[in-house]
């Protein structure tokens, strides 16, 4: 019995918990991508850097509060200023919309023009971020690190395997749950949410029914930016903030959105977890896990690793290819362009 508990603890510590944390960051990011795709009809390549921009603003504000000596121990100070970070990032994103995307909407440009414009905005944002905060690694996590550490867990329960739960992990999971639940409630139960979905389903019909398109656009950007900023801050608290890494996150986030079905919010969220777990679970070495479960004398002598860690990105893209082959619109039917 103790062996089974040890095995489960081991897997939770190294696979389940990190996978869920990373999955929730990707899921939040993919939700933003999918909303913009569903409602504004283009793939927003600037999303990764929007995440970085919102996070950067939050970091700057956090440093301000830290300098004033304000903290909310054991929680990180950053969560106090996330709302202000979201507001600033939204203003900037709406500025880009007004000066760039609005023009393309006016001339009814094909969606590929929006995509290329978003690549341009991505570069502008990257430059801005490097001008303001620089390219270096920044850590801004304060407050308590752990709810309990692996060692404390081991000693308390007398197990041979430890489980550590970090504040940032629990916070990522908690905030994501609340955020996603309220987003779905908003989309399906409020008039404004319904107008967003209506606009996404059929733009002309929605306008004919009296839905104000400008309002829909603004709302979409604000929601997507809020999701991006919050995902970015949670990610930064769990790992650390580095502009180039946020840009790299774009790839798994897009994979998540596509696997789930572009344009489908539920799919994006689930896709985040599919990508995260496919990376971790397939490259994990199951030697010790099996050693606990198998009868004595049958312990594996090799690492029991399905694939080396260098192939972890191949795994998520393999899943992407398989999903697209079998179900081109994603696990949950998304929109096709």
């Amino acid at each position: 019995m103790v062996d089974i508990i040890n095995a489960v603890t081991l897997l939770t510590n190294y696979v389940l918990l990190p996978g869920m944390t990373y999955g929730s960051h990707l899921g939040l990011g993919a939700l933003g991508i999918t909303l913009v795709y569903g409602i504004l009809r283009f793939s927003n390549f600037a999303h990764g850097d929007t995440m970085a921009f919102g996070t950067m603003m939050t970091i700057l504000l956090t440093w301000g509060l830290q300098a004033l000596g304000i903290s909310i121990y054991p929680l990180p100070t950053a969560i106090l200023v996330i709302p202000i970070g979201v507001v600033i990032a939204s203003v900037v994103v709406l500025g880009f919309d007004k000066f760039v995307y609005a023009h393309f909407r006016q001339i009814n440009a094909p969606s590929v023009m929006f995509v290329i414009a978003s690549v341009g905005i991505m570069f502008v944002l990257q430059g801005l971020i490097r001008l303001i905060i620089g390219p270096e690694n920044q850590s801004f996590a304060d407050g308590a690190r752990f709810i309990f550490t692996a060692r404390e867990f081991k000693e308390y329960f007398g197990l041979s395997e430890g489980l550590s739960i970090k504040v940032s992990q629990l916070m990522s999971l908690g905030v994501t749950t609340i955020l996603v639940a309220s987003l779905f409630w908003f989309l399906y139960n409020t008039t404004t949410g319904k107008s967003l979905r209506a606009y996404s389903d059929n733009r002309d019909l929605a306008q004919l029914s009296g839905i104000n398109p400008d309002r829909v656009v603004i709302l979409t950007w604000v929601i997507a930016t809020a999701l991006a900023t919050i995902a970015g801050v949670l990610y930064g608290l769990d790992k650390s903030f580095k502009p180039s890494v946020y840009f790299q996150l774009l790839l798994p986030i897009f994979a998540a959105a596509i696997v789930g079905g572009l344009g489908n919010p539920l799919g994006a969220f689930v896709g985040g977890f599919v990508v995260a777990f496919s990376e971790i679970a397939i490259t994990y070495a199951y030697k010790r896990f099996l050693a606990y479960l198998l009868p004595e004398g049958m312990e594996p002598t090799t690492l029991v690793q399905l694939l080396g860690t260098e192939y972890k990105f191949a795994v998520s893209f393999l899943i992407l290819v398989i999903v697209l082959l079998i179900k081109p619109s994603g696990i949950f039917a998304g929109k096709t362009a």
């Binding site: 990373y22 270096e136 690694n137 692996a150 790992k239 490259t283 199951y286």
Partner: protein, 395 residues
């Protein structure tokens, strides 16, 4: 009208000739952006210090001055590094290149720019064992030692400290692969066991998979052959948080102040090695640059000064700034016989060479070039004590 035209042409020609007569340009091709940017700014300052010293002497190639032109090698983007080097050679017309740093981009620049154009490159930091055997037409040198030596030394240090098994994670590029290969071979020879040899990619969003695989394999220590800003620190953080390893071994890529920030005392007892020396040269160099706010003992700063000094001294010995002539003189000025030249004595070296004498450049990093043009290798062994790097010994 005709007159003005002629005058203008004459003026332009005169200007061109003037620049040629007084100015020797060398390129500082270093990774000012990218994974090792935190190491590079002081390296470039160290190199410029040597250039300034030579310019100020007034006797360099009959009174010419040296201008250092910077180009960004990016550490990871071979295309961008090649373009930057191409610009240095064709637009800025540099005579030789000090650089690059990360082994991958150095290799690319060597093949695509230095060889076709016949330009000498002296790298202060490229440590991949691959350069020992690369076809270089005698154009490539390095003041950094090959990682074949570092891997061997790391295996010795780990064994001496009484650890019998190690989990290894290396950054998946020329540097990480070369170092981990040479370490694995040496460690096995010494009777050590490598539980896993897991590569990690540059600058990805999540390293939980690597942390998990390393933890599952276990081992007395974890060797992190990577860069601080590109996953190395994240993997160390993850392993500490999950409680899978307490002691880490850091080669040169992880040796920087950026690693110890926000770890407090958690890394105490971890150790490693990086190129370095306790020679008089290093102390002299540190004293020399201290007034300008530079920490001369930092990683690869002395090597950068030395690489630049070697280029310029070889030019003086050859009596020309042309790469095809100076490449023959690099080994001569770096090694005995001749008068020993320490940092701050570049003017003395230039003078001896101008008179046709011989010098043995020692510099900040005890330069001793072995065939085919790389540093024999001096290392410092360090340890983390009370959350700070402490040098234990030189070997």
């Amino acid at each position: 009208m005709r007159k003005i035209y002629t005058l203008t042409i004459a003026g332009i020609l005169a200007l061109g000739v003037q620049v040629k007569a007084e100015d020797v340009k060398i390129g500082l091709l270093l990774s000012y952006t990218g994974p090792i940017e935190e190491l590079v700014a002081p390296m470039a300052d160290g190199a410029e210090f040597a250039a300034m010293e030579v310019s100020d002497s007034g006797i360099f190639l009959g009174g010419k001055t040296v201008t250092a032109v910077r180009g960004d090698a990016t550490c990871v983007d071979a295309g961008a590094a090649t373009a930057a080097a191409e610009r240095l050679v064709t637009v800025d017309k540099v005579s030789a290149i000090m650089g690059a740093d990360c082994s991958g981009v150095t290799g690319a620049v060597l093949q695509n720019v230095a060889l076709p154009n016949g330009i000498v490159m002296i790298s202060p930091a490229s440590t991949s064992p691959g350069f020992t055997t690369v076809e270089d037409d005698g154009l490539f040198f390095r003041t950094a030692p090959s990682d074949a030596r570092q891997g061997q030394l790391m295996a010795e240090i780990i064994t001496e400290r009484g650890y019998g098994s190690a989990a290894v994670t290396f950054i998946n590029n020329d540097y990480g692969k070369g170092l981990s290969d040479s370490f694995a071979a040496s460690f096995a020879d010494l009777g050590g066991e490598i539980t896993i040899n897991a590569p990690h990619e540059v600058g990805k969003g999540d390293y939980s998979a690597e942390v998990a695989a390393l933890a599952a394999a276990g081992g007395d220590v974890m060797v992190v052959a990577g860069y601080i800003g590109e996953g190395g620190k994240t993997i160390v953080r993850g392993s500490l948080d999950a409680g899978s390893f307490d002691t880490f071994v850091f080669p040169d890529g992880m040796y920087g102040d950026g690693l110890l920030e926000d770890f407090g005392n958690e890394l105490d007892g971890s150790f490693g090695q990086a190129p370095g020396t306790d020679s008089d040269g290093l102390a002299t160099f540190a004293e020399l640059v201290a007034p300008s706010g530079l920490n001369g003992e930092g990683p690869f700063i002395g090597e950068s000064y030395d690489a630049t000094a070697l280029i310029l001294l070889a030019m003086q010995a050859a009596g020309s700034s042309e790469s095809k002539l100076l490449k023959e003189k690099v080994m001569d000025v770096a090694n005995a016989p001749g008068e020993e030249i320490y940092p701050g004595e570049l003017a003395k070296g230039l003078e001896i060479l101008a008179k046709g004498g011989e010098i043995d450049y020692v510099g900040a990093s005890s330069v001793e070039l072995i065939e085919p043009g790389e540093s024999a290798g001096n290392y410092r062994e360090f340890e983390v004590q009370d959350g700070a790097w402490v040098t234990v010994s030189f070997r």
